[in-house]
C-alpha cells in the first residue's frame, strides 16, 4: 500500500510464459514492509506461481483484511483488481465477489491476527462454504502492524520481544481447517520457496477453499530468541511431511518416482500433483489421520509443513447452491427481469 510505482525496466530476453507475459507483469508496487519481512518472500512466491501458471492478470482478484500481511496484495499482480477490506472480514467480501462472478480467480491474503482472532468466525465459515479461493495466512505469531502483541497462533511458551511468555493454546489454522471439514489444508514457510510455489499452484487449482498457512517471520517483533516463529526456530524445527510437485496439464510427468512414497493426484483441470511423502504411511486424504498426525508432531514442537489434507470431491459454494455456470454478472437484464406480464399473472394470486 504505497504510492511509489516500480520502475519497469524490461530486460531484453526476459523469459515469457505461455501467454507471453514476463514475471514483472505479475509484480505490483514497491513493498513498504520491513527489510527481511517474511511476507515479502511470500509475495515473490505468488508472483512466481501465477507467472508460471500463465494466469491472465485481469481474471484475478486479490483480497485481504488489515495488517502488514494484508498490505501485500498491492505488491503483486498489478493488473488484477484488488480489495483491501476491513480487519478480519475479508472472507465475506471474497465470498460475495465470487458469488457474483464465479469465473474470477481469487487469491486472498490474511494474517494470523486477521484470521484467527477478529476473523475467526469468517475463517471458519468460508471453509464451511468451501468458497473457491486460495486463502493464504501469513503467520508470524504476532500482530505486526500494531507492534508485536501475541496473536492467537502464538505457541504456548513462546516469548514476546518485551519478555512476557504466552501461556494460551495456539490456534493452528491447518488443524482447524481440517477439523471444520475443509477441502484443502496446507502449511509452508516463507523461507522455503521450492515448497511454497507448488503449494500456491495447487491451492489456486484446487476447486474449493484452499487454506495455506505460511510461517512468515516478523523480523521486527518476533524473530528473537525464545520466539517460535523466528527464522532460526522455524528452520530448526522445520518438518516437511510432504513435498509437492506441480505438473501442468500440458506437460507429462517426466521424473519417475517411487510408488510407495509418492502419490500422484490429478487435479480437476488435468494438472497433476506429485506428493512425495516423508512418512510413507501418511495419507493426506484421511481427515482423522491428518489431525492425529498434526497433533502428535506439533506436540513434539515440530513445524509440520506440506499439503496435509485435500479432498477435491467436496462441493464448492456454487455446486452447493446450484448456481448457473454462467457468472451472474454476465447475464443480461432481460434474462433477469420477468417483465410486466409475469407481474400481472403473479398478482392474480394476491386478491
Amino acid at each position: 500500500m504505497t504510492y511509489i510505482a516500480k520502475p519497469r525496466i524490461d530486460m531484453p530476453g526476459e523469459m515469457l510464459n505461455e501467454i507471453g507475459l514476463k514475471r514483472r507483469d505479475y509484480e505490483g508496487v514497491l513493498s513498504t514492509l520491513c527489510a527481511g519481512c517474511g511476507h515479502d518472500s511470500i509475495t515473490a512466491a505468488i508472483v512466481q506461481a501465477f507467472w508460471e501458471l500463465s494466469i491472465r492478470p485481469k481474471t484475478v482478484i486479490k483480497l485481504s483484511g488489515i495488517g502488514c500481511s494484508s498490505k501485500t496484495p498491492a505488491y503483486f499482480i498489478e493488473g488484477a483488481h484488488g480489495f483491501n477490506s476491513v480487519h478480519g472480514r475479508m472472507p465475506s467480501v471474497a465470498t460475495g465477489a465470487l458469488a457474483a462472478n464465479r469465473d474470477l480467480v481469487c487469491i486472498a491474503i490474511s494474517g494470523d491476527g486477521d484470521s484467527l482472532s477478529i476473523g475467526f468466525g469468517q475463517f471458519g465459515h468460508v471453509i464451511r462454504r468451501n468458497v473457491n479461493m486460495l486463502y493464504i495466512i501469513e503467520n508470524n505469531g504476532v500482530y505486526g502492524l500494531t507492534k508485536g502483541q501475541f496473536s492467537a497462533s502464538a505457541d504456548p511458551g513462546s516469548k514476546a520481544k518485551k519478555g512476557e511468555v504466552n501461556r494460551m493454546k495456539a490456534i493452528d489454522p491447518v488443524a482447524t481447517a481440517i477439523a471444520l471439514g475443509g477441502s484443502f489444508a496446507a502449511r509452508s514457510f516463507s523461507g522455503d520457496r521450492d515448497q511454497l510455489v507448488p503449494l500456491i499452484k495447487a491451492g489456486v487449482t484446487h476447486p474449493g477453499c484452499a487454506i495455506l498457512d505460511v510461517v512468515s517471520p516478523c523480523v521486527t517483533f518476533n524473530d528473537h530468541e525464545g520466539s517460535t516463529r523466528s527464522y532460526a526456530y522455524t528452520r530448526e524445527h522445520y518438518y516437511s511431511a510432504i513435498q509437492t510437485d506441480f505438473v501442468p496439464p500440458s506437460s507429462e510427468i517426466k521424473a519417475k518416482y517411487d510408488e510407495g512414497s509418492t502419490l500422484p493426484v490429478t487435479m480437476h483441470d488435468g494438472s497433476t500433483l506429485l506428493l512425495k511423502k516423508t512418512d510413507p504411511e501418511y495419507d493426506p486424504t484421511d481427515r482423522s489421520a491428518a489431525m492425529k498426525y498434526l497433533e502428535t508432531h506439533s506436540r513434539r514442537g515440530e513445524v509440520v509443513t506440506g499439503l496435509m489434507f485435500m479432498n477435491q470431491g467436496l462441493p464448492e459454494m456454487h455446486a452447493i447452491s446450484e448456481t448457473a455456470v454462467q457468472p451472474l454478472t454476465h447475464m443480461d437484464f432481460e434474462t433477469l427481469n420477468p417483465g410486466s406480464q409475469a407481474l400481472a399473472d403473479l398478482q392474480k394470486g394476491l386478491r
Binding site: 504505497t2 485481469k58 482478484i61 488484477a80 472480514r89 465477489a97 457474483a100 427481469n337 394476491l350 386478491r351
Partner: protein, 602 residues
C-alpha cells in the same frame, strides 16, 4: 349499537401456534373480495407457541388504512388476555367469546354487547382429532362472524376451494366448521349486526400484499442476483420472499440452474461484506436486516461510503434499543442509518410508505446506489413489512433499463490514457468505476485506508482532504437524484404544515381529514428520502408551524431536518408515537388538537 356498515375494526385475540393465522386471512380476503377496503395488522409475540397474539382487521369504505384507536368487534379466544380484551372494546361494541367454559363475572361491562358461542364444544362434538379440533375452533368463529357481520359465505367457500385446491378433503372440514359457527349464530342471535360488511364492489385493480414480499419482488425486477442475509425478525420474510420469487422466475428453464445466489451468512457483518464484494464485482446485491444488524454492519457501511461501493440495505425497523421488542414496530433507526459508522459519513435513505413503494423504492435503491456509488438504505418497518396491506396493483414498464451508473467499458478504457478510480471528471462528485475480470487497464485497488483522487494510498493531508471534500459534492448531487416528497395541499391556504414519512402516512391522512372537520387545515409533506431535496426546503420555508410525525422517541427525522436544513427549532413540533403499536390516526389528531387548542379557541 349504532350502524357501521363497511366501517369497523374487528380484532381477534388468540394464542400463537394454534393456527388462527389462516382463519384471519380468510376473513381479510373475504372482506377484500366484497370490495371493502381492508387492512390487517398482526400483533404477535417474540416466541413460537403459547403466548397471546392479536389480529386487527380494519374495514373502511373511505379506504383509511391506519389503525383508528377503536375496536368494534372483539373475538376473545384467549382466556389469558380476556380481561384486557374486554376493556379494549369501544363503547357500543361487541365481544364474542368461547362459552364452552363459563366466563367469570370479571367480564361484566354494561356499555357493550357480549355474546358467548360454545366454539370448543361445537368442534369437539364434530371433529375427532385433537389438533384438528383446535384449528377448526378458529374456522368456526369465521362462521360466526360471517353470520353476524354479513361476510358472504359463498366467497368464503370460494376462497377455501382456491386455498386447498391441492388437498380437497381439507375443504369439507373447513366448510363444516364454518357452518357450525354460522348456524349457531343464526339460531341464537339476531343477524346481521348493525356493525357489518356489505358488498360494495370487488376492489378491482387492487391486491393484498405485505411490504417485505413487495420489496423482494422489487429486487427481482431490479435485476438483483446476489442476496446475503442473516435471519432476523422482521426482515426474514423479505429474503424468504426473494427466494420464492427467484424459484419462480429465475430458474434456467433447461438446466434448472439458479440465476441468483442467496447466501445465509454467519452473521450480519459477513452479510454486509458479501454484498460489498458482490456489488464490487458487478452484481446487484442487497441485504435485508433490522436494527441490530445495522449496528453490526456499521464498520462495513463506513467502508462502502469511503471506498464508494454501491450497495443496498433494507432495514425493516423494529422496536429498539437493543433487542427491544422484535415483533413490534418503530421508526427508530433513522439517525443510525443516516450517519452509520465512525468518521464523517452520511448515507441516503429511502422511506417507503406502503408495500407499493417498497416495490418501487427497491428498484430506485439499486439505481441510486450505482449512480452515486454509495450504500443506500431502504427504511421500511415491521408494520409495512409484515402486515397485510391493500394497495393498487403493482406496475412494471418493460422499457425500464437499470442505471448502472458510471461504469467504463473496455472500449472507453482503451481510449483513455490512464484510468483513475476517484477522479471527479464531471464535476458532480461521482467518479468512474470498472468491474473486476474485465480489463487489465481498469484494474484498481479498493481500500478503506487513506487514498487520493487517483486511487493510490496516501497519508498526505491535502490529498486525503481532497477526496473527503469531493464526497460532499457527491452528496449535493444526490439531493437532486433522490425521490421527491409528496405534497398534499390543504383545501385552503395555511401556514400550518405536517411532515411525516413511511408507515405514518395513513394515520396522518385520516387525521387531516378529521381535523378539517374541526376546521383546522394543514399542508402535508410526506418525505420520501434523505438527503432532503429542494421541495423539502421550500416546504420548511413556507410554513410557520410544522408538526413532524414520527414513530420514535427522540424525534430522529426532526433532528435530521434541523441539522441539514435552515429550519428553525421552534417551528418543528414533535408528534411522537413509540410504544411499538402501528401509529393510530387518533394519536396524530389529538396531538395536533392539543397543540392548537388555544388558537382554535381564539
Amino acid at each position: 349499537m349504532t350502524e357501521r356498515i363497511n366501517d369497523f375494526v374487528l380484532k381477534i385475540a388468540t394464542v400463537n401456534g394454534t393456527g388462527s393465522a389462516s382463519a384471519n386471512g380468510l376473513l381479510m380476503k373475504a372482506l377484500f373480495r366484497m370490495g371493502v377496503p381492508v387492512t390487517g395488522k398482526n400483533m404477535f409475540p417474540s416466541n413460537i407457541q403459547g403466548l397471546p397474539t392479536w389480529y386487527e382487521v380494519r374495514a373502511n369504505l373511505n379506504g383509511y388504512m391506519s389503525r383508528s384507536g377503536r375496536v368494534d368487534v372483539m373475538v376473545a379466544m384467549n382466556a389469558q388476555t380476556y380481561q384486557k380484551d374486554l376493556e379494549e372494546v369501544s363503547p357500543g361494541g361487541l365481544l364474542i367469546y368461547d362459552s364452552t367454559w363459563p366466563r367469570g363475572d370479571t367480564l361484566n361491562r354494561q356499555d357493550i354487547t357480549v355474546l358467548g358461542v360454545p366454539l370448543a364444544a361445537l368442534c369437539n362434538e364434530h371433529f375427532s382429532v385433537a389438533r384438528i379440533r383446535i384449528l377448526m375452533k378458529n374456522v368456526a368463529y369465521v362462521g360466526v362472524l360471517s353470520a353476524l357481520m354479513g361476510i358472504d359465505p359463498d366467497i368464503l367457500r370460494k376462497l377455501l376451494e382456491e386455498t386447498f385446491a391441492a388437498k380437497p378433503k381439507l375443504i369439507d372440514g373447513n366448510l363444516k366448521a364454518i357452518k357450525l359457527g354460522y348456524d349457531y349464530a343464526m339460531e341464537n342471535f339476531t343477524c346481521p349486526l348493525p356493525v357489518r360488511a356489505e358488498t360494495m364492489g370487488d376492489n378491482a385493480g387492487h391486491i393484498l400484499i405485505d411490504g417485505n414480499s413487495a420489496a423482494a419482488l422489487g429486487c427481482v425486477y431490479a435485476g438483483a442476483t446476489v442476496g446475503a442475509w442473516y435471519p432476523i425478525t422482521p426482515s426474514t420474510s423479505l429474503m424468504d420472499a426473494f427466494q420464492g420469487y427467484c424459484n419462480r422466475f429465475r430458474k434456467d428453464p433447461e438446466t434448472g440452474e439458479n440465476r441468483f445466489c442467496i447466501i445465509q451468512a454467519e452473521d450480519e457483518l459477513a452479510a454486509a461484506g458479501m454484498i460489498l464484494g458482490a456489488n464490487w464485482s458487478g452484481a446487484r446485491a442487497f441485504t435485508p436486516t433490522s436494527g441490530p444488524g445495522i449496528s453490526l454492519m456499521s464498520e462495513f457501511i463506513g467502508f462502502a461510503y469511503y471506498a464508494e461501493i454501491p450497495s443496498v440495505f433494507f432495514d425493516v425497523q423494529r422496536v429498539g434499543p437493543s433487542t427491544g421488542m422484535p415483533t413490534r414496530t418503530q421508526q427508530c433507526d433513522v439517525m443510525l442509518c443516516a450517519f452509520a459508522s465512525h468518521g464523517d459519513t452520511r448515507h441516503p435513505l429511502l422511506f417507503p410508505a406502503d408495500p407499493r413503494e417498497c416495490f418501487e423504492m427497491a428498484v430506485m435503491a439499486f439505481d441510486l446506489a450505482e449512480r452515486v456509488q454509495t450504500p443506500v438504505f431502504v427504511l421500511s418497518d415491521l408494520d409495512i413489512g409484515m402486515n397485510d396491506w391493500m394497495i393498487p396493483e403493482l406496475e412494471w414498464d418493460d422499457d425500464y433499463q437499470p442505471d448502472r451508473g458510471k461504469v467504463l467499458t473496455p472500449d472507453e478504457l482503451r481510449k483513455m490514457e490512464k484510468f483513475h478510480r476517484y477522479l471527479d471528471k464531471d464535476g458532480d462528485g461521482i467518479p468512474y468505476r470498472t468491474y473486476p475480470g474485465t480489463t487489465h487497464k481498469g484494474a484498481y485497488f479498493v481500500r478503506g485506508s487513506g487514498h487520493n483522487r487517483y486511487g493510490a494510498y496516501t497519508e498526505d493531508a491535502d490529498e486525503y482532504q481532497d477526496v473527503l471534500d469531493r464526497l460532499l459534492v457527491k452528496w449535493e448531487t444526490m439531493r437532486g437524484l433522490v425521490p421527491k416528497p409528496v405534497l398534499r395541499k390543504a383545501s385552503r391556504d395555511t401556514s400550518f404544515g405536517v411532515i411525516a414519512y413511511g408507515s405514518s402516512d395513513g394515520a396522518v391522512n385520516e387525521a387531516l381529514d378529521r381535523l378539517a372537520e374541526h376546521d383546522f387545515h394543514a399542508d402535508y409533506l410526506r418525505i420520501r428520502a434523505f438527503p432532503f431535496s429542494d421541495e423539502v426546503l421550500e416546504f420548511l420555508a413556507t410554513h410557520d408551524t410544522i408538526f413532524v410525525v414520527e414513530q420514535n422517541r427522540d424525534a430522529q427525522l426532526r433532528s435530521l431536518l434541523i441539522i441539514e436544513t435552515p429550519a428553525d427549532d421552534e417551528n418543528l413540533i414533535r408528534v411522537l408515537h413509540y410504544n411499538g403499536m402501528p401509529i393510530p390516526s387518533d394519536s396524530v389528531l389529538n396531538a395536533v388538537l392539543d397543540h392548537i387548542k388555544p388558537e382554535v379557541a381564539a
